[in-house]
């Protein structure tokens, strides 16, 4: 999906945000791009192509996930089967939301981004491997590049550390802060 600035209203349109749980949102992933006004699937849209069914990595344009803070966007991507998104940049709130749900945002340089698009254009079945331990992305003929990842986010993803658990472990410091900032 090469287009830049894909906003979260496209990832899940607002009319599907009336749920009170997280289940089944994959059904509405990119709904207005996947489905034509007459209700039939849009065969030109990348997620409808037979060769991408079962894919776990979404290769996306820059500024992916901009706009609304809806966490329904990563929930829908995960529910559809996406485990990682590769782009040259991500919107801040989307990145935060993705990491909390185990969806890996991988930021690459423009050159690598271009090579990846070139590769999947030539071979839609081409494989890309993302290794979070070594923070490397491998594709093609032993081509491997590193990608940046905030160390805390990396640990959270690798060890399944619950960020809420970390905050709860700060109880004493939080109480001390509250005691020092009485009423404010």
């Amino acid at each position: 999906m090469a287009m830049r600035d894909v906003d979260t209203d496209q990832i899940v349109p607002a009319r599907f945000l009336k749920v009170i749980d997280k289940e089944g949102l994959g059904e509405h992933l990119f709904e207005d791009w996947r489905i034509l006004p007459d209700g039939s699937p849009n065969s030109e849209f990348v997620l409808n192509r037979p060769e991408v069914q079962g894919a776990q990595i979404l290769l996306a344009g820059s500024n992916f996930g901009c706009g609304s803070s809806r966490e329904h966007a990563p929930w829908a991507l995960m529910d559809w089967g996406v485990r990682a998104v590769i782009s040259t940049s991500f919107a801040d709130i989307f990145r935060n939301n993705a990491i909390k749900n185990g969806l890996l945002p991988v930021t690459v340089e423009a050159e690598t981004h271009g090579e990846l698009f070139g590769m999947v254009d030539r071979d839609p079945h081409a494989e890309v491997t993302i290794d979070l331990v070594s923070q490397t992305l491998s594709f093609g003929n032993e081509h491997a590049v590193g990608f940046p990842m905030d160390p805390f986010a990396r640990l959270s993803l690798l060890e399944g550390v619950d960020q809420l658990g970390y905050l709860l472990s700060m109880e004493e410091k939080i109480s001390a802060y509250e005691a020092n900032h009485d009423g404010s």
Partner: protein, 462 residues
């Protein structure tokens, strides 16, 4: 200012970890909170500080009348779930029938909950609005809503600072909305990623609080984490006497603290852009993100004006969706709907601008104009001033408060193929209704266009 507020709120900072920040005010609404409350319930946790947590309903609520039978079953269920959650966890809720209810970002300021120097969050990207008071305010996801409910804290890495300096004096017919649309066009839809904007300069100082909120509201549309304006006497005058603002001796103490919040003279920002409002025209968007905007008398750019191939493709795709041509003028382009509302432009001063222009005139034949006040308090004030009669006499619809057609969750929406001029903040594909096409503009431009039935420069009607 960013560094001062940040360091005042750091509860803990461990190596190679984000800061643990204390949250002074947590605002809640029906759409992004249900899963967070479910998470608390499942783990047997409480809301740590219900006294710092305030809820309202705005996104999926009806605006025709305050009757849940007017929205679909899922929207009604979501509203009922918020009631249940707030009752169970002891959170103050401004319910559908409350005279304090409204769009979450409108009521925060209106009630005096939003104050200088605060750290404010809400599960909504337009939380940046509250930065107009010199608060650090930003949108968070639902997992983070759960974190704040449980611990009153949030894990965050410090953003960089970005000065948006605005000089000059605005001409007639030009408003704060035009400033921010011009900033968007200049900075781009992703120019603010990793930054917090601080708006500075005489043109910003000259704005009243409601206009400052319009500016800060759209900071997120450039990808900025937040937008802020240093507090000054305009800020303090706005806050004095509001329900949750301090009073008596506490007010004097607060004032002393608030005066310390502003950025020190000569501070260095990580990045700066400048804009001069002297030459600024009313702005309008032509594309499908808020940075695709231009002065209203301009032509839509031609594709070869974009050197970046991705940007060119993105504009090409946007124009195809909008059914517009590169190089085309927008003045005189026929429209079907005008929407005055949203957390960007639904405050009393916005409604006054629209009503003054509409007074003694009519909405064009066949055009639908929707005026949706930002809160029940704004609605009462407008009715006390007789503005609603001007709207109704002109043929516009006068509604109950809510987000309404800004995101089309409650049934207020554009039909496929319709063109709307909207005072809201997002012109994404389908944002205001599946297949609908949005032009973002100020309340003045929207009203002038409603009268003429086509995109109109409000300066020709003043």
């Amino acid at each position: 200012m960013l560094s001062k507020i940040w360091s005042d709120h750091v509860v803990a900072q461990e190596p190679e970890s984000p800061a643990v920040l204390y949250i002074d005010l947590h605002l809640i609404h029906e759409v992004t909170s249900p899963q967070a409350f479910t998470g608390l319930r499942e783990a047997g946790r409480q809301v740590r500080r219900p006294d710092k947590t305030f809820a309202t309903m705005d996104h999926s609520t009806p605006t025709l009348a305050l009757d849940l039978n007017l929205v679909d079953k899922m929207a009604a269920a979501q509203v009922r779930q918020l009631r249940k959650n707030c009752a169970e966890f002891g959170v103050t809720l401004y319910d559908l029938d409350s005279d304090r209810r409204g769009i979450v970002h409108i009521i925060g300021a209106e009630l005096g909950l939003t104050q200088p120097g605060m750290m404010i969050v809400c599960g909504d990207s337009h939380t940046s609005t509250h930065g107009a008071f010199g608060a650090l305010a930003f949108g968070i996801g639902t997992s983070e809503v759960k974190h704040v409910l449980a611990t009153q804290c949030l894990l965050q890495t410090k953003p960089n600072s970005f000065e948006v300096r605005v000089d000059g004096r605005m001409g007639p017919g030009v408003t704060a909305k035009d400033i921010i649309l011009a900033v968007m066009a200049k900075v781009g839809v992703d120019g603010g990623i990793g930054y917090v904007f601080e708006y500075t300069g005489p043109a910003i100082r000259a704005l009243d609080m409601e206009q400052r909120m319009t500016v800060c509201n759209m900071s997120i549309e450039a990808g900025a984490r937040a937008g802020m304006i240093a507090p000054d006497d305009t800020t303090f005058e706005y806050l004095a006497g509001r329900e949750y603002a301090p009073s008596g001796q506490a007010w004097e103490t607060a004032l002393r603290n608030w005066r310390q919040v502003a950025t020190d003279e000569g501070a260095i920002y990580d990045r700066t852009v400048s804009l001069d409002t002297g030459e600024l025209e009313p702005m309008i968007t032509y594309g499908t993100n808020p940075s695709m905007g231009m002065p209203i008398s301009d032509r839509i750019p031609t594709l070869n004006e974009f050197s970046d191939v991705n940007k060119r493709q993105s504009v090409e795709k946007a124009l195809k969706y909008m059914d517009l041509e590169p190089g085309q003028r927008l003045l005189g382009h026929e429209i079907d709907v005008v929407f005055i509302g949203s957390c960007t432009n639904s405050r009393i001063t916005d409604l006054r601008l629209a009503a003054d222009l509409l007074d003694g005139r009519k909405v064009a034949d066949g055009l639908r104009m929707l005026v949706v006040p930002g809160s029940q308090s704004v609605k009462r004030q407008a009715e006390a001033e007789g503005l609603h009669e001007i709207f109704l006499n002109a043929g516009a619809e006068w509604r109950e408060a809510g987000c309404s057609m800004c995101l089309a969750m409650n049934g207020d929406e554009l039909e496929a193929g319709q063109y709307g001029v909207s005072t809201s903040n997002r012109n994404y594909e389908g944002r205001q209704g599946k297949g609908g096409r949005s032009f973002l503009a100020s309340p003045l431009t929207a009203t002038a266009s409603a009268i003429m039935g086509e995109i109109t420069d409000p300066r020709t009607m003043l």
